[in-house]
Symmetry: none
Subunit: 176 residues, 4 copies
Amino acid sequence: MQVIGSDGYAQATYARIAAHAGLSSTRLISYHFADKDDLVAAVVEDVITRIGEFVGARVGVEVTAAGQLDTYLESVVAYISRDRVRMRALMEVLLAGVLPDLARAADAGPVEGILRRGQAAGEFRDFDPFVMATTIQRSVDGLPFLLEGTPELDLEAYARELVTLFRLATKVDTHG
Amino acid sequence: MQVIGSDGYAQATYARIAAHAGLSSTRLISYHFADKDDLVAAVVEDVITRIGEFVGARVGVEVTAAGQLDTYLESVVAYISRDRVRMRALMEVLLAGVLPDLARAADAGPVEGILRRGQAAGEFRDFDPFVMATTIQRSVDGLPFLLEGTPELDLEAYARELVTLFRLATKVDTHG
Amino acid sequence: MQVIGSDGYAQATYARIAAHAGLSSTRLISYHFADKDDLVAAVVEDVITRIGEFVGARVGVEVTAAGQLDTYLESVVAYISRDRVRMRALMEVLLAGVLPDLARAADAGPVEGILRRGQAAGEFRDFDPFVMATTIQRSVDGLPFLLEGTPELDLEAYARELVTLFRLATKVDTHG
Amino acid sequence: MQVIGSDGYAQATYARIAAHAGLSSTRLISYHFADKDDLVAAVVEDVITRIGEFVGARVGVEVTAAGQLDTYLESVVAYISRDRVRMRALMEVLLAGVLPDLARAADAGPVEGILRRGQAAGEFRDFDPFVMATTIQRSVDGLPFLLEGTPELDLEAYARELVTLFRLATKVDTHG
DNA sequence: CATGAATGAGCGTTCATTCAT
DNA sequence: TATGAATGAACGCTCATTCAT
């Protein structure tokens, strides 16, 4: 995970992973994982479990869809902030396009669910939930790469901007 | 370009490119391009020139920042729609992280410029232009990959949704 | 070493070395050596250690500079005689000009040291030690190639001729 | 010749030669020469003709074998001095071992002839002419490479030292 | 005399993976 | 749990050379 997250997926060869882990043979990697797909799947599994628990615990306590959306954005950004290497590792794998099955990790399904419930409850205006959910998901999943270039980025402010942005984009029309 | 766009950057080896082009030797690729970076740079150069001209011509005729933003979204999506392979090739290269100099092709600078001018002109509310521009850029640059999974996606409708979304997110507050 | 020594440095490709060693893949060469320079360095290191020990042990027991020079010529020729392949491998590498750092293996420094000490002790006449040392060194380091063309060459006689030659060339003028 | 002489034989590829000559295609080389051996042979032919004429003209006017030997050493060194690039090109080709037929260019035959005539005339002592000739030849043919490392080397002094060295090594014993 | 397009073999090197302890 | 030896395929790239003008 550290190798993928720090040097990119392309650098995550058995040789480099073994070197980073202080192993004198790549054999041990093959011993623990059936093949490279298996190794990568384990990495992804680990990260999506962590972020899923972190975000799920926070979103779960919200009752309104609007509150859940706000909390989703804030907690995803917060998780990225405190676990940059793992998150970049995850995004590297997803963008590399290995194991298409793993794409679910970055799909906008959960967000789309929130949006649909919000529309049903009259909290959100009448937009296409797929487009909105995809846009929301994309607004955060590039952050690990952005942080690489500008590590000093103020992520709390970034999250506040996103919350405002999508509140305005989703709320029901109030005027005339 | 076709190989990168159809099979991904990782598959774009000299052998595969030569096979696709009907060449009996990879030698001719090395004959025309100094090295692989040179080849990739040529691909990127070509696509950014095309999309730049397409989008630039349309955005250039707009006078208001709001009009430019609408047109930017619509024309980028329209270009992606009619040149899917090339656009996916471009995104593949950018995401692969080869040639960091090429990152400009996907940076949000031009959009940020539009946003700042719109704020100065009082057309837009007071948001962080960098965050907004990044979000706008990300909302479209994942489309080539989305199209791969769902080629029948209605891109005109997608563009209309994005236009509405970012109009609401950027417009000045009107209610008391 | 056998491949370089028998077929020349230009023929010493990974493929040929692997074939000669009975390996089914060149991969194992890369496995043991960082790159080709590393492999070549190991070859050179081995040979110069061997010849250094052989010649050093014999020259070291001599007390006079004249005796050391005689013994140097005799023992270098003797070593070449009994280890032809390794010595030709060494000369191939040096002449190929790879790894300029290795040039020390063929430089005339040690011989020049003997000559200077001999002049200081009044054993040798007043010649340019650099020119003499270079000539002495050259007189032996072409022998591996000479042996290739005429393997039946009588090296003991060759050494005796060289000893006489350089005795006459270095000794103090005796006649009035 | 310039490419071989300046950058070494290994660098003398068709591509580099064409670049050096300002040609836009290597095709012209293939047009003039049957193959690479033919090209190299032409280079060698040219240089050995030049040095042969230069040295031959000077040695030819000497009547004694001793005078011919002195003049041979002086004129070979003088030619090396004034035509360094060509001479290094010649030595590069010979040492590279291409075209074994060309080895005659560096063989000690002519010198051996002088030595034999000198012995027959009683000018030289009774040494092995082959060993002496080889040593003499080697004493000068490494000079082009030596000059590369130390271009400021005083070649006139070098030649004088060699002349003295081999006079002493060849002259008849005068003392008891 | 000169060009650019095209070729096939070979280069050193790296890949994930397997074998034998 | 851990090692080093060994594998075969593929990588980007360069070689001298040929084809068609």
